[in-house]
């Protein structure tokens, strides 16, 4: 009996904390923040001569909306990503490790400028890092 009581209690506590913990999407600041994040990133890319050349033929409006969609999607927000796969969209660009590092540093800088909490930043980075192999050297 005591055991059941304890189990119920534990279940309640974990269920409550799980419900109380906001999604990564919410922690990042939702649609508004993600839109600002992508716009901030576009400005950084524009001013980075070492990576901007990759985007010279890119439809920036599409890139912007797909990236917003994707960040919303991978942070468990209410969006479906409708763009190409990471492999498809980055093939032919020969994106290097240095290019990838630079984009990640820009992302961190913009998130910091937007005062996104460090734990949310790191959680997003943890979800993006495994995409490295699909994005680089293709």
């Amino acid at each position: 009996m005591r055991l059941i009581y304890v189990c119920v209690l534990v279940w309640l506590v974990t269920a409550c904390t799980a419900a109380a913990k906001p999604s990564l999407y919410q922690q990042l600041g939702g649609e508004v923040a993600i839109t600002k994040l992508v716009d901030g990133l576009l400005v950084k890319i524009e001013h980075d001569p070492r990576i901007v050349h990759h985007f010279k033929d890119t439809d920036i409006a599409r890139f912007r909306s797909k990236l917003i969609e994707q960040l919303c999607h991978i942070s468990d927000g209410p969006c479906q990503y409708t763009g190409s796969t990471m492999q498809e969209s980055h093939t032919g660009f020969q994106i290097t490790a240095a290019d990838f590092d630079r984009l990640v540093q820009h992302l961190i800088d913009v998130m910091t400028e937007l005062h996104i909490p460090l734990d949310a930043q790191n959680e997003l980075l943890a979800r993006l890092a495994p995409m490295y192999k699909d994005v680089t050297y293709r």
């Binding site: 070492r50 290097t96 490790a97 240095a98 290019d99 990838f100 590092d101 630079r102 990640v104 540093q105 961190i108 910091t112 909490p117 460090l118 734990d119 949310a120 790191n122 959680e123 980075l125 943890a126 890092a129 495994p130 490295y132 192999k133």
Partner: protein
């Protein structure tokens, strides 16, 4: 405590500080790697933590880039002071070449020993950040004790030695309380007595020994790491026991050009003098 940095040492310190001040004032374009991912200059000149070489490659050079670093480290314990001046160049985040000059001041004897170390390191597999496989690097340190009389008098066999090591390093993103955690494990083959400061081998110990060296650092901010290190040491000189080394440190990557580290070290017993604890300080400039 006795201070005995020779004039050239002082000039170098002033230069390092001047360069650091300049770099803080006007950040110079370094390589593309993320802040902190080159580690810092260890006491042996190789990129790492304070007393452990890591699998990380010195500086900020990412693919196809070059980087150079300069480091100044001091270990101040009760009866000894270790001062290291070092410089390293790296290419492609794969190759590292380092030079270090260590001065080991023995206060009770009022004399200092001097060791030179040439280090090479190559990243062979994995990645610090972007792959499940940790970054694996292998390296060698070619060491030469320039004042061999004292080490020889206490039983050291040789003036020169080569340390071979393999290191694995990994940053676990969002690991603890939403913070990123760096871990490193190094296995070193060595004949060195007190890392070579007291020469290499002894009449009872002519073979290589394998020792383990471990570090863990939590990035409490993007630019601040708090860490702990452990360095296993052989014990081959009959005249005195040699202990493992430990430290606690805080590192601050002020920007991509300058980082500083401060810490507490426990070097145990050195040359019959027990309980050698004290402070650690390091500054690194990177381009």
């Amino acid at each position: 405590m006795v201070t005995a940095i020779p004039a050239t040492g002082r000039a170098l310190v002033r230069l390092t500080l001047a360069v650091a001040a300049l770099a803080i004032a006007l950040p110079i374009q370094a390589g593309s790697k993320l802040l902190g991912t080159g580690g810092t200059s260890s006491i042996e000149g190789s990129a790492g933590g304070g007393i452990v070489p890591w699998a990380t490659i010195a500086g900020y050079a990412s693919s196809d880039e070059w980087s150079a670093t300069a480091g100044y480290n001091r270990v101040l314990v009760d009866d000894f002071q270790l001062t290291t001046h070092s410089a390293a160049v790296s290419y492609d985040n794969h190759y590292e070449l380092s030079l270090a000059r260590q001065q080991f001041w023995i206060a009770p004897l009022q004399l200092s020993l001097e060791q030179q170390i040439i280090g090479v390191k190559v990243k062979v597999a994995g990645d610090l950040l972007y792959s499940d496989l940790p970054q694996l690097s292998v390296g060698a340190q070619f060491k030469h004790q320039q004042r061999f009389e004292v080490p020889q008098a206490v039983g050291a066999l040789r003036q020169n030695g080569i340390d071979w090591y393999a290191s694995v390093s990994k940053v676990y993103l969002d690991a603890i309380w939403g913070r990123n955690l760096l871990t490193n494990a190094t296995v070193r083959l060595t004949k060195a007595n007190q890392t070579g400061l007291l020469g290499f081998g002894s009449s009872d110990a002519t073979q290589y020994q394998a020792v383990a060296e471990l570090s863990a650092a939590l990035l409490v901010r993007h630019d601040v790491a708090i860490g702990i290190e452990f360095k296993q040491k052989p014990n081959q000189l009959a005249f005195a026991r040699e202990d493992h080394w430990k430290d606690l440190f805080v590192g601050w990557f002020i920007n991509r050009n300058v980082s500083i580290v401060a810490g507490y070290v426990d070097l145990g017993s050195i040359a019959q003098l027990d309980d050698q604890t004290g402070f650690y300080f390091a500054i690194q400039g990177a381009y």
